[in-house]
């Protein structure tokens, strides 16, 4: 009885705290500018199935792709068992589904054990890749202590959670064979039976303690895990589905239009006054801070799981330049979080006189070739180039601080219609003295 109450209260607390955090993140994402994405629902759901559920882009790197699918699919499947755990927890029963499913029960639990094993294999392999093999992309400069610890904590937590399943099932089985009260017979479970010899000589009291501890560890572990995620790069487990749904559907080469400039340029070309928009706010060209990015840019940043696939294919980064598309995403997320905290403390209109340019340097932004290798590599369809471009737009149009060589090509294009200083009247010189061999 008391256990049931504790169980229910813990869950209420865990879900309430999680909801509170989700609301905060959702508020933060909505700090971004409006962007209407309602088109092509069917295509978008298709993408969610293929890219998010089906992990299609993960497989571009086969080893980490397969390992990730083991962890992802395994984790989801293992948690089907949570259904029984929840009923048991609330009702104070023990393995309530065993009598109902009969001989199918040990088969089901055994298969969950296999999924748990897959998760463990994946997580251990990931830990080895990060910490022993030290894969380059996990040790770039932006991977400071916290991003590295964050990743390791998640992986270790999953290994602990999965291990607890094996010990719980093994001790449960031994207690069943000893006929201890409440531990009714369910048949043996395949993988945890290998743990039985290890535990066999322990007294029943100890085994009950192990069984109960593992059961609670598993439950409380999941609650902690759930509530850790909003603070972690691991938030992608939720947001990737949304982020993929709201993917850019046009060819990646198409950059976002700026309608405010279209109005202005049209009036310049026609000589007509632009139509007065009474609701027009003072809008900046491009972005120096998160509120000038769109909510999709901010969702991109929150979805980033810091895998670094973008950075490892970035031509600038490969050749030793400071630009790392992952760092841009991490900096934007850090800045949103800080902006959100400031709002909580000081109200919506508070400004700390800082901007994205405090963490992202012009040197990084100008190294981008807009080649879209990062966009192509991202398993969750983040558009890094779009954020980089918004920051460039701000530097060029608001600060007039483009690199000198680029200012030179701007004035050449303006004056003579080409990036080089050639007269437009000479645009046909290439056609002089052009002959073809007649046969």
């Amino acid at each position: 009885m008391i256990n049931s109450i504790i169980f229910i209260l813990l869950w209420i607390g865990a879900i309430a705290f999680f909801t509170w955090n989700i609301k905060k993140i959702s508020r933060n994402i909505k700090l971004g500018k409006d962007l209407d994405i309602k088109d092509n629902k069917k295509k978008r759901w298709g993408l969610v199935l293929k890219v998010a559920v089906g992990q299609s882009k993960m497989l571009r790197l086969p080893i980490s792709g397969v390992l990730h699918i083991l962890v992802y699919a395994g984790f989801i499947l293992v948690n089907i068992e949570m259904l029984e755990t929840m009923i048991d927890g609330v009702a104070g029963t023990h393995r309530i589904l065993a009598p109902i499913f009969g001989f199918l029960y040990p088969i089901a639990v055994s298969s969950f054990e296999f999924f748990a094993l897959f998760v463990m294999i994946g997580c251990i392999a990931f830990l080895i890749r990060r910490n022993i093999l030290k894969l380059d992309r996990f040790w770039k400069p932006e991977m400071k202590w916290w991003p590295r610890l964050d990743a390791n904590l998640i992986l270790i937590a999953e290994v602990v959670l999965m291990t607890s399943i094996f010990f719980m099932n093994a001790s449960d089985y031994i207690l069943q064979t000893r006929g201890v009260a409440h531990y009714h017979e369910t048949g043996s479970f395949f993988l945890s039976s290998f743990f039985v010899p290890m535990l066999q000589n322990l007294p029943s009291e100890t085994l009950m303690l192990i069984e109960r501890t593992c059961w609670w560890l598993h439950i409380v572990g999941i609650m902690i895990f759930l509530n850790y995620i909003p603070y972690s790069k691991h938030f992608h487990v939720f947001l990737s589905f949304f982020n993929v749904f709201y993917s850019k559907l046009e060819p990646v080469g198409k950059l976002a239009n700026m309608p405010s400039i279209t109005t202005e340029v049209k009036s310049m070309l026609t000589g007509e006054e632009p139509p007065m928009d009474e609701n027009a706010e003072e809008i900046a060209f491009g972005a120096q801070d998160v509120k000038q990015l769109t909510w999709k840019h901010l969702m991109d940043a929150y979805t980033c799981t810091e895998c670094g696939r973008c950075t490892s294919v970035c031509p600038a980064n490969i050749t030793g330049k400071k630009l790392s598309p992952r760092k841009i995403m991490m900096d934007i997320r850090d800045r949103i979080e800080l902006t959100g905290k400031n709002i909580d403390k000081n109200g919506v209109d508070f400004s700390d006189d800082k901007s994205l340019f405090d963490s992202i340097s012009a040197e990084e932004l100008w190294a981008c070739t807009t080649c879209n290798a990062c966009v192509n590599a991202c398993p969750v369809n983040i558009d890094q180039v779009s954020s980089i471009l918004e920051l460039r737009r701000y530097i060029v149009m608001e600060q007039a601080a483009a690199p000198g060589e680029l200012n030179a090509i701007f004035s050449n294009i303006e004056n003579n219609g080409a990036p080089w200083q050639f007269s437009q009247d000479d645009r046909m010189l290439w056609a002089d003295e052009l002959y073809i061999n007649e046969k």
Binding site: R60, P251, G253, K254, L255, N257, M258, I261, T262, E264, V265, M268, L269, F285, G286, V313, P315, A316, I318, T319, G320, K321, K322, L323, E363, W366, A367, T369, T370, C371, N372, V375, N376, L389, I395, V396, M397, A402, P403, E405, L406, I409, F410, I413, G417, P419, W420, D425, D426, R427, M428, L429, W430, A431, E433, L434, Y435, I436, E438, K439
Partner: protein, 266 residues
């Protein structure tokens, strides 16, 4: 076979229009195609191919101006839209419906970005046009000029990743008897030449290496006789890379159009 040289008078849109003629295609030459000494050769090669195929086309000539691609990617949206709207006004006044260009950047911006300013055209990259001509049987290559030569093709970002066109250039190359070897990073995984997004016109940021050298090494690893490109920026970068590696004597860098020009002995 007796060969006579015939002078090509490149048709200009304004002249044709004055005569009441409307060509099927606008050939967008692009700033590099008009001014860059190396890429002018590609423009001339492609004009010869169009002439050889009796294609109805014209260029804008002195009315052409920068597509604005580089201005937009370098963050100058104002300048980009000025260019776009001015170009669209001219093209629409000539009732342009189809555009061919040898520049993947112009191709991308016309195809994907100009529609937002009432510039709606069917846009073809020259490799797509050549591929069509080959598959329709209009362009036939029975030259053994490159037989036994190894060709490696570098995907331009703005044709490949940006627009998903990996096949057309390869199909054109397949029509030329020769050995094709893919670089390790190819198609959607291809490495940029380093020139896009305004990089062409500025010093690279501090790093260990130039991007074009990294990409040239990818190409050299295939032991090619010819590095094939399909973009004016890539052409400049790969040529520089070959010079840097002192390989410009043994290994050539050609645009796909130039290979066709050579096989057809135009």
């Amino acid at each position: 076979m007796s060969e006579n040289k015939r002078k090509i008078e490149v048709p200009v849109m304004a002249d044709l229009f004055a005569k009441g003629e409307k060509p099927e295609y606008l050939l967008w030459v692009g700033s590099a195609g008009a001014f860059d000494d190396r890429y002018k050769k590609v423009t001339r090669a492609f004009i010869k191919i169009l002439t050889h195929l009796n294609v109805s086309y014209a260029v804008l000539g002195v009315e052409e101006s920068s597509s604005g691609d580089v201005a937009r990617r370098a963050g100058n949206e104002m300048l980009f839209q000025m260019q776009a709207m001015t170009n669209i006004e001219i093209m629409n006044s000539y009732e342009v419906k189809k555009i061919i260009t040898c520049d993947p950047h112009a191709f991308n911006t016309f195809k994907n970005e100009y529609p937002e300013y009432e510039g709606n055209y069917e846009v073809l990259h020259h490799t797509q046009f050549l591929q069509q001509q080959i598959s329709e049987g209009k362009l036939k290559i029975d030259s053994e000029l490159f037989k036994g030569k190894t060709l490696t093709y570098h995907d331009p970002c703005y044709l490949g990743r940006a627009n998903g066109e990996y096949d057309a250039p390869r199909e054109v190359l397949d029509a030329i008897p020769s050995t094709k070897v893919e670089m390790k990073r190819n198609k959607s995984n291809a490495l940029c030449c380093g020139a896009g997004g305004g990089q062409m016109f500025k010093e690279a940021e501090k790093g260990d290496k130039e991007v074009f050298i990294e990409r040239t090494e990818d190409a050299l690893a295939t032991n090619p006789d010819i590095i094939v490109t399909a973009c004016p920026y890539c052409m400049v970068m790969m040529t520089d890379g070959l010079k840097y590696k002192n390989k410009e004597e043994e290994i050539k860098n050609f645009d796909i159009a130039e290979l066709i020009e050579q096989t057809l002995e135009l």
